[in-house]
């Protein structure tokens, strides 16, 4: 075993909020060894960020460590009271990187200055030599032209570059431990891959121990040597990365892995976790996950389980490992295996159905000040009835703009959009517009922003019924609302409540019910699961799939995450800077990606499998690799149903590749 650099024992952290006491961390323990990467995985509100903040003494003012100890170099730092004591640790021994690089830097200081001041402050280095050191650091984190970049301000850097700067300033004092709190969540996937790579390299060069805080199991698989799973303020399972991914023991870990859409097979329902993580104001008895666990035992409701040993490195806090539960545990795993082995439902090919939406040469220009730029350039595709068509791309790819244009909440600059053969990007008569609005609905990304906080659920769901006069009397309206709520798995009594009483997943389902109640035919879903907790995503995806089958819906699914889209889509279009660069059937696209951008994107998406992730090489897409100066690109069908944006030469290459 390597040297232990940090040890947290039975840490309990409380907050006082307006007279109430909330326990955010309920006795969590971890060890951190020299040079290793430990990932703490958990959903929002599980206490993972709060837990690691206590290692630096930067809890919010109303929080305190109420029990346990945190040992660093043999000293219990949780007993530190004064700022002076903490200053010996922060930045020097333990450093931290935050989630959002856009807000982590002071906007009115040059980036060089912000790194330089760390060096001067900690080592008292004079200006010139700390400046030189800073430039060296900038180079080390992969920033070109460091001399020039030194003098620039944060807003002149892209998100990924800013995160590099943040990392540079965190490692400026060669800390022993680097804590990364969701360091790539705010970044695009291709940038994420580069940042993860950078952190790995720095860790090796500087021989640091790294703690990752994340909700993304793909990232975990990519970076972690060991994994600790956190739920409701406790670590419930920890072990080597392979042990957790291959042989999870706690029902929560098992369910979480099984519910990942990345690993889902099309046509088979995802194993979803019902409900939402518990509210920490309430007292938790027994196993916190029990109410959401359909296989929970009686004891799970009674007594909190201790840690049971699985291997020397793998422990889990679940009664299933108790010897008296052995038979029951076997029974469950058999049931699971049976369900997982069930053959997926046969899928029809919806492209044989009639075309519902047809987009032809769509261009959308926006004015930014006096300059005009194209958010969407010459985009064409068809969506067939009963199909799930996905638009995938990173931020700024124009995918949302296409959705909005079809939804008629955004202008178009050129091209046509046809819905059921009728051109809709023109001024519609009131009757036409009403009919269109009823048939095409939208589901939003952020369930916190998309519901009117001051209206009751009943009104929110009824809004469409009122607008399209879809009921004869009050009784029928209520019945329709109740039906819509049932279909998304909400209880009747919620109708009289306000949205803020619900969790994110419940709110997203309310949003879906609002769209469904008017019986639409096409639903535009703009990143409907990216703002949701991991354990909730499968719920919503299953629901969308189920509703599609039941009501014969058609989806336009907009997402940034290719791996999620694979599970749900029939066909996928990949967008880059306003243009569709490749369009193909879901399986085809994954099996034979052609466009270099699609390949980069596919490679960058972290897969929740440590073996795959370990082997992976980061590909950076550089649009300059295309030479379109003479040989102009066009929209080419290289195989039936597989389109690429390429020039003659490239098309020939792609075709050869497909034939090989």
């Amino acid at each position: 075993m390597r040297e232990k650099v940090l040890q947290a024992d039975d840490v309990e952290i409380k907050f006082s909020l307006r007279g109430k006491i909330l326990t955010a961390v309920r006795g969590a323990s971890i060890d951190l060894y020299q040079g290793e990467t430990l990932a703490i995985v958990g959903e929002s509100g599980c206490g993972k960020s709060v837990f690691v903040k206590s290692f630096l003494g930067v809890l919010d003012k109303n929080g305190w460590v109420s029990r346990g100890r945190i040992l660093l170099d043999g000293v219990d730092i949780s007993k530190y009271k004064t700022e002076k004591e903490w200053l010996r640790i922060r930045g020097k021994k333990i450093a931290m990187v935050f989630q959002d690089p856009m807000t982590s830097l002071n906007p009115v200081k040059t980036v060089g200055e912000q790194i330089r001041e760390v060096i001067s402050w900690h080592f008292g280095t004079d200006k010139e030599s700390s400046r030189r050191e800073t430039i060296e650091l900038l180079r080390q984190v992969g920033i070109d032209n460091a001399e020039i970049r030194y003098k620039q301000y944060p807003h002149e850097f892209s998100g990924g570059m800013r995160q590099r700067v943040v990392i540079a300033s965190a490692i400026a004092c060669r800390p022993k431990i680097l804590i990364c709190d969701e360091p790539t969540t705010a970044l695009d996937v291709t940038v994420q891959a580069q940042i993860l790579d950078l952190i790995k390299r720095l860790q090796k060069d500087l021989d640091m121990s790294v703690i990752y805080i994340t909700h993304d199991l793909g990232v975990v698989a990519n970076v972690a040597d060991r994994v600790a799973v956190m739920y409701a303020g406790q670590i419930i399972e920890y072990g080597l990365s392979r042990e957790i991914f291959r042989n999870p023991q706690h029902p929560y870990t098992q369910a979480l892995l099984a519910s990942l859409p990345q690993l889902g097979v099309r046509g088979r329902e995802l194993e979803s976790i019902k409900g939402s993580p518990p509210n920490l104001y309430k007292e938790i008895k027994g196993d916190a996950f029990a109410p959401r666990n359909p296989y929970a035992m009686k004891i799970d409701y009674e007594l909190e389980p201790p840690f049971f040993k699985v291997t020397d490195t793998h422990y889990a806090k679940t009664w299933l490992l108790h010897e008296k539960a052995r038979a029951y545990a076997r029974e469950i795993s058999q049931q699971r295996a049976k369900r997982a082995g069930a053959p997926p439902e046969a899928l029809e090919d919806p492209t044989r159905n009639e075309v519902l939406v047809s987009v032809r040469n769509l261009t959308v220009n926006f004015k930014l000040g006096r300059r005009e730029f194209s958010a969407v350039k010459d985009v064409s595709f068809d969506i067939h009835r009963g199909e799930t068509f996905s638009l995938v791309g990173e931020s700024g790819s124009g995918k949302t703009t296409v959705g909005k244009a079809i939804m008629k909440i955004c202008h178009t600059s050129a091209g046509d959009i046809f819905y059921k053969g009728k051109k809709i990007n023109r001024r519609l008569s009131n009757r036409e517009l009403t009919e269109f609005r009823r048939q095409v609905q939208m589901i939003f990304q952020d369930p916190m922003a998309s519901l009117n906080e001051r209206a009751k659920v009943d009104y929110i769901i009824s809004e469409g019924l009122y607008n399209f006069k879809l009921f004869k009397n009050e009784e029928e309206r209520r019945r329709k609302v109740a039906e819509a709520m049932h279909s998304v798995g909400l209880l009747d009594e919620y109708a009289t409540r306000f949205p803020h009483e619900f969790s994110g997943g419940q709110r997203q389902r309310i949003g879906i019910a609002r769209s469904l109640v008017v019986e639409p035919e096409l639903i535009i879903a703009d990143e409907p699961i990216s703002a949701l907790d991991v354990s909730i995503r499968a719920q919503v995806l299953n629901l969308l799939n189920e509703l599609k089958k039941e009501k014969g819906l058609t989806y336009l699914f907009i997402a940034h995450d290719l791996s999620v889209v694979r599970y749900i889509s029939d066909r996928i279009a990949v967008m880059y800077k306003g243009r569709i660069v490749e369009l193909a059937g879901s399986d085809e696209l994954f099996a034979r990606p052609l466009h270099p951008y699609t390949r980069a994107l596919l490679q960058a998406v972290p897969v929740p499998d440590p073996d795959v992730e370990r082997e992976k090489q980061v590909i950076v897409y550089d649009p300059r690799l295309h030479d379109y100066s003479v040989d102009k690109p066009y929209w080419a069908e290289v195989a039936p149903g597989h389109y690429v944006w390429a020039n003659r030469q490239e098309v020939a290459n792609y075709k050869a590749l497909l034939d090989a």
Binding site: L87, G91, M96, F98, P107, V118, E156, G369
Partner: protein
């Protein structure tokens, strides 16, 4: 960058012209009887009255009056007061008065910055504690009680307790103290409350939390990051403050009989001294509009993000 300044400058000019035009037009709505005292009005007959009005130039068509006004202005002639200080040159009137107002405002500006800013910082650092509560109580009192009442009590009681003169005399510096205190009370509260708010806002930002985990001390963060950024939205007003030094406080100059600019506008309006009103409005609005303009430019030097916006234009 130049385009940014130009467009701001154009906006400022348009605003000033609009203000002058509107005021010019409004003044023509006033009944002509206002140009006479009651006795004069009774003594003069119609012909005499008209002759008098014509001599003042108020019977010309509005556009002609506007043209004359502007033409004179371009020659650098501010004209003469008509009724309030009959036949005096406006330049002379203003020159006499401005010096008093500038003097007091400058004193008070220094005093309020020196007291108000540290108070705001102390309140933010001590959030929820005694200094904060006491400071907040002071701010609430100053901002909610009508200023006349406060100034009046300051004059009556402080003069008694501190043994200071109640009325202003130029050659007696002790008499300058009370007006300065009175003038400063409100702006101390302003500096304190806004600086406190900006500091608290700033402290909640991610980069300040990040600075903490980098191992800087609270004091270092406060001085190098928080204060510097929190001062920007306050500093945006400095140019305005500087230019508006010339406008006196009506109440305070009234109470201490300071012969400054305060009240001259109201008196001139009441006396329907059109020339004087026009010049004053032009003066005040130009200064305030340019104060905002200079503030924008000033901030564009302090905050690098503004330059970027311009590039994207």
């Amino acid at each position: 960058m130049r385009r940014y300044y130009l467009s701001k400058l154009c906006q400022a000019l348009v605003t000033i012209s609009l203000v002058v035009l509107v005021v010019f037009a409004l003044l023509r709505f006033m009944p002509t009887t206002g140009y006479f005292s009651k006795e004069e009005y009774r003594e003069m007959d119609e012909v005499a009255r008209n002759a008098y009005l014509r001599s003042l130039g108020v019977l010309d068509p509005t556009l002609v009056q506007l043209k004359n006004f502007l033409a004179k202005l371009f020659r650098g002639d501010l004209g003469r007061s008509m009724t309030l200080y009959p036949k005096s040159r406006i330049q002379d009137i203003l020159r006499d008065k401005i010096k008093y107002s500038v003097m007091f405002n400058a004193f008070s500006w220094v005093v309020s910055a020196v007291i108000g800013m540290p108070l705001g910082i102390a309140m933010a650092k001590n959030k929820g504690g005694f200094v904060d509560s006491a400071g907040t109580a002071y701010v609430v009192a100053v901002r909610s009680i009508p200023s006349i009442i406060i100034h009046f009590f300051v004059q009556v009681y402080l003069s008694k307790w501190l043994g200071l003169p109640m009325l202003f005399k130029m050659n007696q510096p002790a008499s300058w103290i009370l007006p300065t205190i009175s003038l400063s009370l409100g702006s101390i509260a302003g500096y304190a409350i806004w600086l406190r708010r900006y500091i608290v806002d700033e402290e909640n930002k991610d980069y300040i939390k990040f600075a903490r985990v980098k191992g800087f001390s609270q004091n270092y963060i406060m001085v190098r990051h928080v204060f510097r950024n929190a001062i920007v939205p306050i500093a945006i007003n400095f140019p305005s403050d500087l230019l508006m030094l010339i406008s006196g406080s009506l109440v305070i100059e009234g109470l201490y009989s300071i012969p400054g600019m305060g009240g001259i506008l109201i008196k001139s309006i009441q006396a329907m001294d059109n020339n004087l009103v026009q010049i004053l409005v032009l003066l005040f609005s130009t200064l305030s509009v340019f104060g905002v303009f200079l503030g924008d430019i000033f901030v564009s030097f302090v905050d690098p993000r503004i330059k970027l916006q311009d590039k994207e234009d």
